[in-house]
Assembly symmetry: C2
Homo-oligomer: 188 residues x 2
DNA sequence: CTATAAACTGACTAATCAGTCAGTAATGTA
DNA sequence: TACATTACTGACTGATTAGTCAGTTTATAG
């Protein structure tokens, strides 16, 4: 029953976001997941491995969602917008997942190998941005800086929407933030 | 000797960034700081209080630096650029401090009260941005979204520079990222 | 129905850690 | 000099925790 593995991951995610990392024991995770303490260690060699697996799988789920329904025939700008919308919507529908990624993304808790592995899933986005940079309408800018700004703006937008949930129109804020980004990197 | 208090904070910062939070014991912090374990608890009621103090004081030091040398008579755009440069330079000169802020900023480790207290130091930036929004050259945009985008872009730029330290020209990248931001929020 | 294997359990343990406190050193005061 | 106050020390402890493992249940096969 791989069902238990998922239950453990879900319980860990919830408790990490709720109580922080240090205040969440493996016993608490097991209890929340409805399994014995020993079972956790059947699926994950250690608490560390559990965390790294959670990070990797969460990031990959995110990356997978961002690519959904993208029309490769469309203009680069349209594809960027579609990715942008996907990412924002995923983040808003998976608040805890997104929070977890933000919490542990720059932390030494996550082994650097895990980080690289997860980053590979975003190559399609890098390709898209690389293509944009070669096009005339984009200002002269380093590819990596472009990528950093893209994800930075996206992250800021999602944080804003989470803090103002319900009080502002989601779709129009997403569009507005995208427009600001596109205008910023446009040559004219 | 309040010197010891600073030594404890400095040691905590270094070890948190190096080994993460859970893998840093109060004994290790004390040893690194060159004081007895008991001394740490003279200056901080608990490990939790130490972390919250470190966060608060780091954020305040950052906020203080960002405001330095700002000419209140200058245009809003010029003041924003000056703040932007200050923030980027501080972050690049205090890599661990910045890393720590990023690591624990969205985490439940930090009491929400501490967060609010630290955020108050950035009111001057909010005022500056509020003033910008009322000016004609800025596109119609919610004040909080503007603030989120500003810090998001800044954070992205600093992350980029930390990852490419030495390989790119620092000042020109800071300027370039600022130009992208200003262009993005400009009406024309 | 029986035998074998695989999944699971939870009481247990060795290790670690936050925080204490009785005692010592340093500093100030008269 | 003696006395008082404050700063500091580090061995110690009660509590917690990651991880184990001997035994039990469940699934699979002959």
């Amino acid at each position: 029953m791989t069902d238990k593995r998922q239950r453990i991951l879900a319980a860990a995610l919830q408790l990490f976001c709720q109580n922080g990392f240090q205040n969440t024991s493996t016993a608490a995770i097991s209890k929340q997941a409805g399994v014995a303490t020993g079972t956790l260690f059947l699926y994950f060699k250690s608490k560390d491995e559990l965390i790294n697996s959670l990070y990797k799988e969460t990031k990959n789920a995110f990356a997978g969602y961002v690519q959904q329904g993208i029309n490769a025939e469309a203009t680069v700008k349209t594809q960027l917008l579609q990715s942008w919308r996907n990412a924002a919507n995923w983040a808003l529908e998976h608040v805890n997942h997104f929070r977890f990624l933000a919490m542990f993304g720059n932390s030494p808790f996550i082994a650097s190998l895990t980080k690289e592995e997860a980053a590979n899933e975003f190559i399609f986005l890098q390709d898209l941005i690389a293509k944009a940079v070669t096009e005339e309408w984009v200002t002269t800018i380093d590819l990596d800086l472009f990528l950093a700004l893209f994800s930075g703006q996206l992250h800021a937008t999602v944080s804003y929407l989470n803090q103002h949930a319900g009080r502002v129109d989601k779709d129009s804020a997403i569009q507005q933030a995208f427009d600001v980004f596109i205008k910023g990197i446009s040559r004219h």
